[in-house]
Point group: D2
Chain length 127, copies 4
């Protein structure tokens, strides 16, 4: 599968203006632009906004195998602040997939520069 997959955009992604594609099983790419309403008190992209970008890629990648997957544990490392108007992109890859659990790593970039790293485990429902 390639190209934008509109049906994969859930309500929260839509509310934040995020778009997505699933390059292949276990993978996902989500992107968007930091709008004024996505900022924090420091005037930069809210941690929750950048996290949601990564989390959305994680959710799409982990649910791409036809088995329902729900987030169990995630972590986010913030490397660089992002400003309003900037375009950010999250790319998820599968690090490990077992029958009951799977691990994903997501890199968040702005113009190719790494701004955050996300790691997440899902619980997978029995096949």
């Amino acid at each position: 599968m390639s190209g934008s997959v509109p049906t994969m955009v859930d309500p929260f992604m839509k509310a934040l203006g995020l778009e997505a594609e699933i390059p292949g099983p276990g993978q996902a790419r989500v992107w968007g632009v930091v709008r004024p309403e996505h900022l924090n008190l420091h005037g930069t992209a809210h941690g929750g906004f950048l996290y949601t970008l990564a989390d959305a890629a994680f959710a799409l990648a982990s649910n791409s195998h036809g088995v329902r997957a729900v987030a169990l544990s995630t972590h986010m490392e913030y490397l660089r602040a992002v400003g309003a108007g900037e375009r950010v992109e999250a790319v998820a890859e599968e690090v490990y997939r077992g029958r009951r659990a799977a691990l994903y790593r997501v890199e968040v970039r702005r113009d190719g520069e790494l701004v955050a790293v996300f790691t997440g485990w899902v619980h997978r429902f029995a096949e």
Copy 2:
């Protein structure tokens, strides 16, 4: 300080309908209602929405000492799904505060029931 602190609500919190108060230094409480536009593909509150609730409490608590604090590393444990229309609340407490770094723990509850746990480190700018 007690009661709602409107000036503490940043643009992203406002966009998500979140409200906040700072009961004391190093503390914060943030609450909101899960709206239809906050849902994921499974029809429950998006992981990014619940994270943002916790992250907002973390940001308010860590910036309550008059020293600028920015998120470095966070993690989120998801225990129970939350549905549309439900009210959720995040309460942040300071676990440790050093000169350069501080650690916060945030509990997210729905009607008193724990639904997620968040932990976050901030980098603190020199006093």
Copy 3:
């Protein structure tokens, strides 16, 4: 059950001189003394030693229900350095227990002072 539970001390705990007790289901307490062979290049307790103390309490607490539990994801927050000859203690408590996964929080203290915080998820094998 109370008091030291020698049969609960696994080979690695024994090699590090750690002792343990299980105050009740879902709980554990592990303690030991930092010996010269537990130090790092900075001359303080090795991060791996303090982690093992916490991880051992996590393993005992999560395996205390009669269902085999194996670690999936853990994190450790280091607050204060510990020196040789000091006694450290880890206390684990259950934050959440589902059928397939459970979450524990462990506090590591030296003379009552918090020196590290550990969080860990286990995968639980079907009952």
Copy 4:
């Protein structure tokens, strides 16, 4: 620099029979064999042993720039169990390095197969 760097092996690494080399600044490789005294109650390598392997690589990589670095926050994802007699190797790489903080990712492998993933932040003391 290549080959084993004996002076880099701290007391705890020595106690566990770990060896190390620093291929270049910001990098480290640590390896060892799982001995009977490194096992847990399930008869596999103790989580604390595998963590220490990764943590040692993290410590060497983060201290390789001539600035003292101490661990702040780490996490460990356990993918596969390792048995007694097996050789494991941890390879650390620098994901990000700022003036005050740096982030490392460590992969733990057994015969090339990924068995655990570690991520760690250090606080760096002023240059």
